[in-house]
């Protein structure tokens, strides 16, 4: 089933967010590897914000990603 534009928007937002604040590498990944990596990074972000850790882009996770915030990464590099 084609992915809805809303889903796509969410995925783009999440990808940018995780690259910026959770050290997810940018650029192309091997097929399959990128979704695992993304799930792992989503879990990291959910753990940090004490959300339910699902690895999925549920409403609460996306809602938090959309909030105004500081540009320093949460994962202290």
């Amino acid at each position: 089933k084609p992915i809805s534009t809303e889903e796509k928007d969410k995925a783009v937002l999440a990808k940018k967010y995780l690259q910026r604040f959770y050290g997810m590498p940018a650029g192309l990944q091997r097929p399959g590897k990128s979704s695992d990596l993304m799930q792992q990074k989503i879990r990291e972000m959910q753990e940090f914000f004490k959300l339910e850790v699902t690895g999925k882009l549920d409403d609460k996770t996306v809602e938090l990603m959309e909030m105004a915030r500081c540009g320093v990464p949460d994962v202290a590099e």
Binding site: K50, E52, K60, M67, A68, R69, C70, G71, A76
Partner: protein
């Protein structure tokens, strides 16, 4: 709280700062004052001292810029990213940048420059983000009045620089309560359109049937008008309002909005002036009565007539044997009254007129 790797910090407690440019949103002296106040937040609790310079390179160089502004770490236009800062170090270390595409204010509108600056200067001094939603170093912006540091922030910065040898008295914000703390007690519980809201300190947990993980939020984030401390709360489903009690005042909320004409004094309900605080409140949907618990006694308010029932107050201990004589919070579900006191929850059956179950108060939070 978190620090940066290797606990990066300034080698000296005398730190210099310089404001390179200004936002047109605020007068220059308002920006100067906000920056100084934001630095004072940290010097109040540590030996750190900040000196303003007007030329050359300071430890903390402060500037406003949009999108790509010279450090290959671009901003993103309005909302989203508000500002960022670099951990202590030479060169860009300590530098703090604000997104000029935001609207900067000195009150609760848009983004309060003082609050954002205080957060960013936390980074410039060595603090990374905290996962405590009540901390200043929590990554997501929220407006709050009063001294912005929580105990979590203070513990973090003092573990880098020590305490302020000549500190004045200050009142840090308490750490966010842990939901599975076995000693956890509640301030108030109410239903709100099918969800359960549990108030504790400046926070509330929100339980939703299809949300297994309770969500903790600052009260002021959702209801800026009501106080940081809620004594009691109940929902009147007929009127679709939640009544919030704090001290001798009460507020009526219709979802997220405050009903006009509130706050009102609790004595308007018919309580005597000697009552200064309501401990717990619960609406018994089957009878249309609202029980108001005060110290060892309780009143019954008839929502239909808007008057207090005669024959009250009555003794809690006499009418609800087995639960002790004080109640912190109360909820009613399908013929069972859940009465909370300290870290215990008593399930009282109206029909059997006795306590049928005793649990930990925070078992409602899946603990």
């Amino acid at each position: 709280y978190n620090h940066f790797p290797r606990d990066l910090k300034w080698k000296t407690t005398n730190v210099t700062f310089r404001i390179l440019n200004y936002t047109p949103d605020l007068k220059k002296k308002v920006v100067d004052r906000a920056v100084r106040k934001a630095l004072n937040v940290w010097s109040k609790v540590t030996p750190l001292r900040f000196t303003k310079t007007f030329d050359g390179t300071a430890d903390i160089m402060i500037s406003f810029g949009t999108k790509e502004h010279g450090d290959f770490n671009p901003f993103d236009g309005p909302e989203g990213l508000l500002a960022h800062a670099y951990p202590p170090g030479i060169g860009i270390g300590g530098d703090t940048h604000f997104d000029e595409d935001e609207t900067w204010t000195e009150d609760y509108h848009a983004f309060n420059l003082f609050l954002v600056a205080a957060h960013e200067f936390g980074h410039a001094l060595g603090m990374a983000h905290s996962s405590d939603p009540g901390s200043l170093m929590y990554p997501v912006y929220s407006y709050a009045k009063g001294f912005p540091l929580s105990e979590d922030d203070i513990e973090g910065i003092q573990s880098l620089y020590g305490e302020n040898p000549d500190h004045e008295k200050f009142k840090p914000k308490p750490i966010a309560p842990e939901k599975c703390d076995p000693e956890l007690s509640f301030d108030a519980i109410t239903e709100l359109r099918g969800e359960t809201i549990i108030f504790k300190d400046r926070f509330y947990w929100r339980l939703h049937p299809n949300m297994p993980e309770p969500e903790q939020t600052l009260i002021k984030n959702t209801w800026p008008e009501i106080p940081n401390k809620v004594d009691a709360a109940y929902e009147n489903p007929e009127r679709d309002v939640v009544i919030i009690f704090s001290g001798i005042k009460m507020w009526a909320l219709n979802g997220y909005t405050l009903v006009d004409g509130y706050p009102k004094y609790i004595h308007k309900l018919g309580l005597p002036k000697t009552v200064r605080k309501i401990d717990a409140a619960v609406n018994i949907r089957d009878t249309g009565k609202t029980l108001l618990f005060v110290d060892e006694e309780y009143w019954s308010f008839d929502e239909q007539t808007g008057t207090m029932d005669t024959g009250y107050p009555r003794s809690i201990e006499d009418d609800f044997p087995g639960i002790g004589d004080e109640v912190d919070a109360a909820a009613y579900h399908y013929g069972y009254l859940n009465l909370y006191h300290e870290h215990t929850q008593f399930e009282y059956s109206y029909s059997a007129r006795k306590v049928v179950r005793i649990m930990r108060a925070n078992s409602i939070l899946n603990c």
